[in-house]
Subunit: 555 residues, 2 copies
């Protein structure tokens, strides 16, 4: 019998922040039993993925090994860890395990996709474990910016792996278990083969701050504020939502929750019993009847999302509520790189309304949910793994994290998506490179990253689109002249001549002198017409558009 | 005779950072003589202006008053102040004035557009002045991040206006005149009607740092660095380019300039005699024959521009030079909001090559070219204007700047693009709202912001494009079935049926039951086919594409 292999394979999250999807395997080489940790999404942007709705890791490798998959474990309920469960479940066909709050969120997603609530099993926290095939997996409470985040202890006969999930070291996290140094030390005392560990904040050199520091600052802020105040944070950061609500209560303000996810998250946390002291809330209708200085709106849209409550308030009105001169808008959040323009847009709109905005600059009203560099050192020292495997980071984060581990004398391996690491021996080694990528959810269809769909959209956006139609009659002769339509291109070109007229003129001339052989050959004719249309456009408007040539042959 | 009016009208730059274009007028109301200060560009992005090459202020208002324009004054050679001169000159037809370095850059732009070098007149610095109509304008040296930046003293019989241009307070700027407190105080001593003043850094609460603090830090950095080092900054920041080059020289490294604008800016500064101590440079070919630790590459692309030298080095090679493990890349720059993704992309590519990157986080290797809040206070106290008019900022910057002036007891007015301010009386008042906007340079054509060209591109990028063609014969009957092509859409829809087939099937069925009246009416037929195509696509792929319907009628 072949010796059993213990392996690690990131399919998403190792090379980006987001889209987490990690695979662990144990068993005979090539026939390992597998577990999946997290099934998250990434979010599209106009630059690289216009029109796309969501982005998943490409799970083709897993799907081909569907019968080897024992289970899917979700560390916490952030979209980049749980967002794809409903979309990818069918292709994996394995049961999903999570703690209560995460399971609550996951179940909502599963039922939205028509699956049974039973597809998700709620698991208690460590020392409770789940045994699946050769794996025994425990959910160890760890502090982060959403309730019931967990690191996973993954035990096999080949050794113990600790997968931290996203985490910070916070002994006063507000909601949920404080970070327990002794517990984490105890998990490592009999030896840990590898710790797969969050790298998001590896470039932050200060020790991380506790959630408990935020409340007093917000309370002081609210006491000084004159008019109505709206505050935004990620709705999933239930502890922060609670912190803000309690600060509002102490500052004599009633809380109104605005935005679907804000209400849903508070509901989910209440459902599972982890949110018990949330102050009574008022409805949007109640707001108008209250003095402005007694109101706090807790709103969605901390990242400038165009449809969120924050953006709608910035545009003038949401649920009948209007903000105005003398009011204040507070970002209790950090702008994620790439979202700056959206956030700044909102700030400027509030400025036009006369609303003061307190952004993330001061640092007083927000703390990160991820471990900073000194905290990563603490974690490594507690667990004392044989190998550190950085995850949840772009290449620069993973590289830096691997470097600081090595500098501390702990071996590390920089594994990016698709790199299968064999952890069986004393030194990790690259076993194989798996083809990976991204899958786009586009409307209701899943398209591959390299299918050309998005490439064509980007080209149309950059270059515009010319459509050339041509009819060839039964005898193989052109019936009339080629006809052009344009979309996303200037109407007039050089010398103020309509672009379409010049295109049609040039294409007609071409048809007049084209040989029968060319006209008879669709491929050739298409190519010639396309090339000419691009050349004419270049001369007329200084750019080469995308061109679709449609030849209709009669008879 | 009507009393003369002194007025200020921003057409660009008051509501955004970039695209500067300010108008001053003096004379009988409605028939004022005009001067233009700066003609800058803004840069497009994929989110709002895909495919666009450059963005200008809409100067229709000015063009209608072409014969009232006395002159165009350019404060400094940054693209957002001088970039549009070649593109808009013809529509304004007024002479351009600037100091030597700025004039050198402006002339290159003018000759590229086929204009004479004489279109730009070089002006000496204050107390030299230019008299044009009722205006007497002087260029007062002021420190910024490009050589020979100037504030303008604009004297009329209606009073003095000071237009600071972009500035910082730096008494050791490296190249060019140190900020002269006494000079600025003297300009204000007989009363200043209004100071129109840079607002970019109004949210930075610390006093600004001098350019002179950067050199020693970079020198230390270079001495510690092991392999080859590449450093990037804005090429137009000639003082910084010099600072880096001199630091390299002191650290025993030879400098190689990479990127067209890097060489051009050094050349321009040398031409006008303001850059005399630049160390000898080596060519890209020389680099390979030198020990890596004796080389410093000074490269373009501090904002992650995809075609710049930095991006090409990050992709693997530029001009035969390859960076590798042990080398370092230094950003002596700050990432402009909106450019984060491009910069991070490059950093990750360098990470993959094993190149260490020092980004803008430390703050040691870069200082801003704009006055921070305390410096704005200093300037206001020196000049003691009757009114402060914040410019060069988004709405939030202008509002904040107006607020701090008021708090200091100086009246201010928040004037955004298109708001004409009458400065004749003791209190500024809004005289008129001018319709303004943006003009896009798209290839070689100028299109208006609201012409729909860019809107259509964005729609195609988000929704994809379906083209429906249909031939109607001489008798008004459909000749064959409608034909569909798609671009930027998934090939397969629901149930794995090809989208095109389902579209064609549905449209054919529609044609089969369509009334003659509908078929005879192009507008109606187009509309029906479009609506149906969108409906079918929604059902098949979950999104509604843009649809172009092309009906060819024979005979």
């Amino acid at each position: 019998m072949t010796k059993a292999r213990l392996m690690y394979l990131p399919l998403g999250g190792a090379g980006e922040i987001g889209m987490n999807c990690y695979v662990y395997g144990y068993g005979p080489e090539g026939a390992e039993r597998l577990i999946v940790v997290d099934l998250g999404v990434a979010f599209p942007d106009m630059d690289s993925t216009p029109g796309v709705d969501l982005i998943f890791a490409d799970i083709a490798w897993l799907e081909e090994r569907k019968n080897q998959i024992e289970a899917i474990f979700i560390t916490h309920a952030h979209e980049d860890h749980v967002g794809a469960v409903g979309h990818l479940y069918e292709r994996l066909g394995a049961p999903i395990y999570a703690r209560a709050f995460t399971a609550n969120i996951a179940r909502r997603k599963m039922t939205e996709h028509g699956y049974s609530e039973k597809s998700v099993t709620t698991v208690g926290k460590w020392p409770e474990t789940v045994k699946k095939g050769p794996f025994e997996v425990g959910f160890v409470p760890i502090s982060h910016s959403i309730p019931e985040s967990s690191g996973l202890v993954i035990d096999t006969k080949g050794g113990r792996i600790i997968h931290t999930g996203d985490f910070k070291i916070d002994v006063e996290p507000g909601i949920g278990e404080p970070f327990d140094h002794d517990l984490w030390a105890s998990l490592g005392k009999d030896g840990v083969k590898a710790m797969v560990i969050d790298s998001t904040n590896v470039f932050s050199t200060e020790e991380g701050r506790s959630e408990s520091t935020v409340g007093p600052e917000i309370e002081n802020f609210l006491k000084d504020a004159k008019g109505m105040v709206a505050a935004t944070t990620f709705a999933s950061n239930v502890s922060r939502v609670r912190t803000i609500a309690l600060a509002a209560q102490r500052a004599g303000r009633s809380v109104c929750l605005l935005g679907r996810s804000m209400r849903r998250m508070v509901e989910a946390a209440t459902d599972v019993g982890i949110l018990e002291d949330f102050p009574p809330v008022i409805s949007a209708e109640d707001v108008s009847s209250m003095p402005r200085e007694n109101v706090l709106l807790l709103v969605t849209g901390s990242q400038g999302e165009r449809r969120a409550a924050s953006a709608q308030l910035a545009r003038g009105k949401y649920m009948g509520i209007t903000m105005k001169e003398g009011d204040t808008f507070l970002f209790s959040s950090k702008t994620i790189p790439g979202n700056e323009k959206g956030v700044i847009y909102i700030i400027n709109q509030f400025s036009e309304l006369g609303v003061d905005v307190v952004d993330d600059r001061s640092g007083l009203y927000h703390v990160s949910g991820h471990a900073n560099r000194p905290d990563l050192d603490v974690m490594r020292d507690l667990v004392k793994p044989q190998t550190v495997i950085p995850m949840h980071g772009e290449h620069r984060h993973l590289r830096e994290h691997a470097k600081i581990a090595e500098e501390a004398g702990v071996q590390s391996v920089l594994a990016v998506n698709g790199m299968m690491i064999d952890l069986s021996g004393n030194q990790p080694k690259v076993a194989e490179y798996i083809e990976t990528g991204r899958t786009y959810l586009d409307g209701t269809v899943k398209v591959g990253q390299f299918d050309g769909v998005v490439r064509d959209r980007i080209r149309m956006a950059l270059n515009g689109h010319v459509i050339v139609t041509l009819i060839i009659d039964e005898d193989g002769d052109p019936l009339g002249d080629p006809w052009c339509e344009v979309m996303g291109l200037p109407e007039m070109g050089r010398n103020n001549a309509p672009l379409v007229d010049v295109l049609e003129e040039d294409l007609s001339q071409f048809m007049g002198r084209a040989k029968d052989k060319t006209i008879a050959d669709d491929t050739k004719l298409e190519k010639e017409l396309r090339t000419l249309a691009r050349k004419t456009a270049q001369a007329e408007i200084g750019k080469k558009p995308e061109v679709s040539v449609i030849i209709s042959r009669l008879g």
